[in-house]
């Protein structure tokens, strides 16, 4: 048996020893999961989205299970960026893990201010994921992610505020053309892309005829959305082959992760699967190595974007 295959990858200058990260909102700040999984075995942690002031989140029920997935309407309950910098980040810095901070807000200015706080107090943060699947207070609560102008405005503002760290806006699949949104945020200064956020969905209790979620509609995640995510990665990678993509959406196994890589993702984030098995990520990384070993593939880079087309 030869040397262990090289599963390292690069995201806009950010080097990862392994290509599988924890997706935002499914791993807290990493601290909660540290009792269940060795953080140093992960490619990195994209922490729960943080906002300028603490957000309390939505009423319950916030979640319901659906075929091969789940719907959630949590509402980004978080203690705010100041709490992250004061309480979570010092602990994270002591861990042997790459930290990507996810930021959220209701106005461009809120995103800019959160980014500014991370620029000054965020030592240890390796990159920023921008959660633009947030209602825009200045545009009748339409999602920033759903139109090129607002999406680009957030990214441009954050770019100005935090010039050095790689920026990964997380795009919503709930749009007509995700490649068009991708083009707009890249133009605005994004270094790479996170694809995809949850898919809008709804489930109804037929006894009470109320939505299962208190919030009415929610975001669908889990294996149910994986084909949608793979398609989005493929579409955007085809349009922008040089842009690094963090592929996410329903990945729960090494084969799932490989689909993302072949479609063009340079790294993968695992979300809902962490709830079921907090050790999914190291298991997937080991599965990638086994796949490569069995086929004599030395470098992960030979897999990324290697999709073959039917004749």
């Amino acid at each position: 048996m030869g040397a262990s295959p090289d599963v390292s990858t690069t995201l806009a200058g950010l080097e990862l020893s392994a290509p599988v990260l924890a997706a935002s909102g499914t791993f807290g700040s990493g601290r909660e999961a540290a009792e269940l999984v060795d953080l140093s075995t992960l490619g990195g942690v994209i922490v729960k989205s943080m906002t300028l002031a603490p957000w309390k989140g939505k009423a319950t029920p916030r979640m319901c299970e659906t075929p091969s997935g789940m719907l959630n309407a949590i509402g980004i309950q978080n203690k705010g960026v100041d709490h992250f910098i004061a309480e979570e980040l010092p602990w994270l810095r002591k861990q042997d893990v790459t930290v990507i901070a996810s930021i959220a807000g209701n106005t461009v200015e809120e995103f800019v201010q959160v980014a500014g706080k991370l620029r000054t107090g965020g030592r240890g943060v390796a990159a920023i994921e921008i959660n633009i699947s947030c209602p825009n207070l200045e545009d009748r609560d339409n999602m920033f992610a759903h139109a090129t102008g607002p999406a680009a405005a957030v990214v441009a503002g954050v770019r100005k505020s935090i010039p050095k760290l790689p920026l990964f806006p997380k795009l919503s699949p709930n749009v007509t053309s995700i490649a068009e949104i991708a083009g707009a945020v890249l133009e605005a200064g994004a270094d790479g892309l996170s694809l995809i956020n949850t898919v809008f969905g709804m489930s109804i209790d037929v006894e009470t005829r109320r939505p299962q979620l208190a919030g009415g509609v929610g975001g669908l995640s889990g294996p149910a959305i994986r084909p949608i995510a793979v398609r989005a990665v493929h579409e955007v990678h085809t349009a922008f082959p040089e842009v690094p993509i963090i592929g996410q959406g329903g990945v729960a196994s090494a084969d799932d992760a490989l689909e993302m890589l072949v479609a063009g993702a340079s790294a993968i984030a695992v979300g809902t699967a962490n709830f079921v098995n907090p050790r999914s990520i190291p298991e997937i990384i080991e599965g990638l190595r086994a796949y490569m070993r069995a086929r004599g593939i030395d470098s992960l880079q030979d897999i990324i974007g290697s999709l073959k087309h039917h004749d």
Binding site: L36, A53, K56, N131, S133
Partner: protein
Amino acid sequence: MMRMSSGEILSHKKYGDAFHSLTIVAPDIGERVVPGQFINVRCGRDRSFILRRPFSVYRVHKRGGWASTIEIVFDLRGPGTRYLSELRSHSIVDLMGPLGRGFTLPKNRAHCLLVGGGIGAAPLFFLADELRNDGHRVDVILGARSSRLLLNPIDVRRLASVYRITTDDGTAGQKGRVTDALSEMIDRCESDVVYTCGPHPMLAAVAGVCADKKVPVQVAVEELMGCGFGVCMTCVIPVRPGKSRRGNAAEISYQRSCTDGPVFNGASVVWDGATEIVSSGQSELSPGGTPARQGVVVDSTGEHAPPGN
């Protein structure tokens, strides 16, 4: 690392015609779990339903390090509990736990009143065993909608100094709710503390009576859970902590029942609006099985949260 293990099914039996019981050889959990804590069980590898199902621990039999068993009880509500009901001896199950914060036991010898409703009464049996081992007096009110939904009333008679059974339809014990018997039992048993678990509206009512009687009450809440270890923020419950050091009433916050609970001080929980039980198909995602919808009791001014995340 901690809290991830597998267990071997020792036995599968039934209590009455409604409840299944699984006794699982799980020494890692059995040696550490305290009453009120729960385990999160992976119900097979079927990808059509993916989440683990949480269960409070009903009984523990410590057998010295290598063979301790835990027992869970459940009724059939959906695909997860159906999967578990088909397991037989020697099957292996994937377990996470013990999880959450359990009940706090009294420091000095005390009269403890345990109030359980339906399948939610499960953790109170483990609690009763531990309280009695510590020399406390245990009294019990056990209630359910109907006699067939009373959890192991025979055992209640054995372990309680004084007990009362209530059913909504009068098919066993006193006709009515557990709260109809609560005030009188607190007086009669000179209860120092009340421990309760059951449907959310029942917990609200019990907490209300205990507030009136000025008796401390610990509630084990039932909320839908996604992860069970504190990251998904699904199982939150509105809590108003006690007064701060500056003497101001602290602000209401949503706390996680999986890691901050499931046991809370009943006087701190904000119970308003929590009356409508969620659909039974979803309810097997809670440790007891009868969570309720909670209206927006927290004022989220200025915060426009997205549907997802």
